[in-house]
Symmetry: C2
């Protein structure tokens, strides 16, 4: 296995495991695989057992196989594809037992509403949340798999318009990161306005817009670290002094004053407790 | 004339004239014509003589005729099309004399580099700047005609990427609003990243991103007022605590912490002296 991928090592005591990785979609699956390799390493490296939840996809079997092969190539010990294509699967004892063995769980892209409606309020989700919060499993999700991370989730939305109430459809997410609203394919698909629209509606949340092939890695100690080719854009509404939301017509622009915005790139950090961005040397 | 357009009135003492209107392109030319009518009104209403500079356009004759007809329909007294299609025209005594008569001057869309290279350092531009700054003429520009307003100008750029050094090509603008960098078609064409890229390079400037059919109206008293259907997005780098510009590779994302961003809509104000956004009731 070491010959296949000398990047992975055995886990050591310094690798804290309570980690959530929100990936902005289109992560490198072929060449450097920085993000996927980091996920495997954080999940236990050579000793990792990775669970793949491909439920967001319309072709979950093919999606499951794709990531199965990638993670095996990267060099983990085992990959379990956890096929949940019906809500009843979420209480299947065999699936729950296989989830238990996973030191890392990866949620694929697809449709975040499909993913959330298949998993929400199932024993499988409860178990996964418990394992993640206890530090037993590292969680990663890409695209739709990242969108579901918050308690509130962007289900869909438009672009090429200023922020407005009709630009975004919100729904209930899976709540792994209760305090953030995640958006993905961020600069790639012109999604600042829809993230600001979402934040206008939920100003107690922090907006996190993640570019393609880029990851916001939420550490157990309250730091968000950035890795990958693009940027993570933080939209912090804590200082907002005025917003016209919801007192405007559905399609009129929403005014919002004093948003604090950080553009973070590979190696940068953001402290979720102090709301300060930190340079990569920290 | 009053029958044609009862919106216009004769000027009164309360209408301060030292005004620059930066329009984000695609302003309504057919129906309500809110922005173009406001421009005519601020230029003197029924008594206005409007100069049209269609030099940004590849078809300046047709563009000149278009705005000629629109402004005449709105009901101004006269329209002068100031055809500058060669730098030598910028010292033509006839053109200079006709400019002198204009209480409002409108620069059309097209290519901002064509416009700036035709006008820069000509007597016509000097005269226009003098008239605008003295409050003799209201100045408006749409799209390319807005892009040239700053001392530094976004000549062209890309989108669908995070902010980076190669995302924007800067050039010299016409300097009517020395302290701002204007971008247009803003949310419509996903231009936040290029405006942030520009601001990273010129952090002493204020970024002003203007949506289509939307106007940032710079009053003589230091207020920016918003009118129109979209938003004006202010990107204020005054509090920036860190940026990796220019110490990153050309295409790598630029990190930038603590940008202050305001989304302003019709009726909102921004005080350019105190850098505070103000609600429309102010």
């Amino acid at each position: 296995m070491l010959q296949l991928n000398p990047i992975l090592t055995s886990p050591d005591a310094s690798s804290a495991k309570s980690v959530v990785m929100a990936v902005g979609g289109a992560e490198d699956k072929v060449h450097g695989r920085q993000i996927l390799t980091t996920f495997c390493q954080r999940s236990g490296g050579l000793d990792a057992t990775i669970g793949v939840i491909p439920s967001a996809s319309r072709e979950p079997d093919a999606m499951g196989r794709l990531y199965h092969d990638i993670f095996m190539e990267i060099g983990v010990k085992a990959v379990e594809v956890l096929l949940v294509s019906d809500r009843s699967h979420g209480e299947n004892p065999d699936l729950l037992e296989r989830l238990e063995r996973c030191s890392g769980v990866f949620m694929s892209g697809g449709d975040q509403l499909r993913l959330s409606s298949l998993l929400d309020e199932t024993p499988l989700l409860e178990k996964l949340r418990h394992q993640v919060w206890q530090g037993q499993s590292v969680l990663a999700g890409t695209s739709a798999g990242a969108a579901v991370m918050g308690e509130r989730m962007i289900a869909s939305g438009g672009s090429n318009e200023p922020p407005n109430r009709s630009l975004v459809d919100m729904s209930t997410g899976l709540g792994f990161l209760p305090d953030v609203i995640v958006d993905q394919h961020f600069h790639n698909r012109n999604r600042l306005a829809r993230l600001i629209s979402a934040i206008s509606a939920y100003p107690e949340k922090l907006g996190v817009g993640i570019d393609e092939d880029t990851c916001a890695l939420f550490e157990a100690d309250g730091h968000l670290k950035v890795l990958g080719r693009g940027a993570v854009t933080i939209v912090d509404p804590r200082d907002v002094s005025y917003t016209s939301y919801p007192h405007v017509d559905l399609t009129d622009p929403v005014s919002i004053y004093n948003l604090r915005v950080h553009i973070l790139s590979d190696g940068d950090c953001y402290n979720l407790l102090t709301h300060r961005a930190l340079h990569k040397t920290v």
